[in-house]
Symmetry: C2
DNA sequence: CTGAAAGCGCTTACAG
DNA sequence: CTGAAAGCGCTTACAG
């Protein structure tokens, strides 16, 4: 009557193990494992009885044990290297995060959210990744000179970027919306609706969106035979305040502008405020085009004409590329088309 | 010369193990492990040489192995049971998510993001949690009748809610802003600045914010000796469109209202649009008070007077409570004060 | 097709 | 204070 006390945590019931399943099904643990791996080299009879046992017992594989032997974690990191404020303020990114979570869940892969916005965080994340705690990383920042990149390379971890990685040598897989074509669509729209002095508020020039959307602006002007006036170009930091300041600057420099293509909706709401204060009506005096089709675009007065990025498909493709990389496939790149959404501001 | 080929994944270098550290330090693996656990019952000399070896080798513990023996995952889930759109559109929640990630990182605990907005997702999440893949969960939805709750209870997993869980028996630990007091501050502000026909657009009545903020509204009117006119109360669904519809309804029912307390900034932007279309000036004809102090509050025209929720502290406290629960402490509750932010709309 | 066995990298009583 | 050893729950050659 003095049995050794069973080992217990504060959880009452221990989940069934592969051992229980094997006993229930009347086979060896090896066979159960083979069924778990896809059922190759398993007789139909064994397959069936194992599956029945799994259902009956409600068996779920213990990932820690599997991970220990396979040297695979079975999870993926979603890594933010932006200063956090910027990311979390940007509704695009939350859409992206949601999409990646869902897409990974379909493969039963948990998403681990990590931030590396400052030095201590970067150290922690680097250690975590180097220790092999994830099989790959979905990387969101595309600022050039990203200090995490070197670490990732050293850890030899599969990575997929959101947005074209700037200033990187080698082939780094990424998924991006077609920023340049999106910008071109917007500027064409402005021109086609009769605007002639079209300014632009570009994003930071160390980000792909900042660079590409400005390229698009220039290309369309050229296309229409309009000489590019550098005075019509201002740069913001993707924040609302940055957009506001840039608009003030533009108004001062080029009082007769009649349209502005703003590289993000958030900046566009700032531009709207500046125009309002300057007594310019939108779209009467000045047409305003945004980029992103974020909630802010709808909430703005007037609602913003903007460029929609296909975030659902971006996240889907990021996950697809990452899983392919993890499986050993070659790096690839996916560029997805954008869509012009015409509302009241232009 | 025929050594067995070393086992390899596609990663080149295998991280050092506790075995390597023990060899380097000249002690047993047990001693290394004891150092890892906090260094109790370890001689100063051993402690030092083990730490030196850890540094030299860049050793990082293998969580899968640890988890296998301790029966603890060392990670925590951040679980969204809202229909996803709502969550990800709400900037409060992303702030919360960020805060929780950071707070957990300080304890070296990875945050696993999970969504359970529909039935297949709920099944998957339930299996994952029941399998013991996380030590606890941070739960965000507070809609009453949440179908995940029962599963969590069955799995005997520590849980902390964000927001007061409605209609739950038993003591469930939660952290919330003081919704009622926040609402009272706003309504008092409206009344103190001379408004007399103060309407409200409440949130859904199956959410704590929806209920509590409406309570606050009623209480202040009573406090000021103003009889509550039920016609002045409308309910929205926290969306922009819902706020707009509710405002239209109120305007129709009570054309002479001169203020409205809206239970979220997002709904308030909708209300602003409706007022604009009805030709009412804000704050001239109608004062508008929001709730949340989200980015939308700043972007709104005019910028919204609103109630700020202390999201940083909320996330911090949620993590603290959850870790305490995991460590076996009793359930507790934390209510945090809000702050009135006066801008232009009221 | 299947079982027995080794081993993944840790932690934790148990002796000493 | 410390080492030897068992064991956590899996996967995977290896024989058969």
């Amino acid at each position: 009557m003095t049995e050794p006390a069973p080992r217990r945590t504060n959880r009452t019931k221990r989940p069934p193990t592969i051992h229980d399943v094997a006993a229930e099904a009347g086979v060896s643990r090896g066979t159960v494992s083979r069924v778990l791996q896809g059922g190759h080299n398993v007789s139909p009879a064994a397959l069936e009885s194992v599956n029945a046992a799994i259902r009956k017992l409600g068996y779920v594989v213990n990932r820690a044990a599997r991970s220990l032997v396979t040297q695979r974690s079975g999870s993926v990191a979603f890594l933010l290297t932006e200063p956090q404020e910027r990311f979390f303020e940007d509704p695009n990114f939350t859409t992206l995060l949601r999409g990646c979570t869902t897409a990974l869940a379909e493969h039963d892969i948990p998403l681990i959210l990590m931030t590396a916005g400052n030095e201590p965080e970067r150290r922690r994340v680097t250690r975590y990744l180097a220790a092999g705690h994830v099989d790959g990383v979905l990387l969101v920042s595309s600022h050039s000179g990203n200090p995490m990149l070197e670490h990732l390379r050293e850890a030899e971890l599969p990575v997929v970027f959101c947005g074209k990685p700037l200033g990187q040598r080698g082939r780094i897989p990424y998924v991006a919306a077609d920023d340049r074509e999106g910008a071109k669509d917007m500027v064409r729209h402005l021109l086609d609706t009769g605007r002639r002095r079209v300014a632009t508020i570009a994003g930071p020039q160390d980000t792909p969106g900042g660079v590409e959307r400005l390229y698009g602006y220039r290309e369309v002007l050229q296309e229409y035979g309009i000489p590019v006036d550098e005075g019509l170009i201002a740069v913001g930091d993707y924040s609302r305040a940055g957009g506001e300041a840039a608009m003030v600057e533009l108004l001062q420099r080029v009082p007769d502008l009649d349209a502005v293509f703003v590289a993000s909706d958030l900046m566009a709401t700032g531009a709207l405020a500046a125009l309002d204060r300057a007594g310019r009506s939108v779209p009467g005096d000045v047409a305003v085009g945004g980029f992103d089709d974020s909630p802010a675009a709808l909430a703005a007065r007037p609602p913003l004409t903007t460029i929609r990025q296909p975030w659902d498909r971006i996240s889907e493709q990021m996950v697809r590329l990452l899983l392919a990389r993890i499986a050993g496939e070659e790096p690839a790149t996916v560029i997805l088309p954008t869509e012009l959404i015409v509302r009241d501001s232009a």
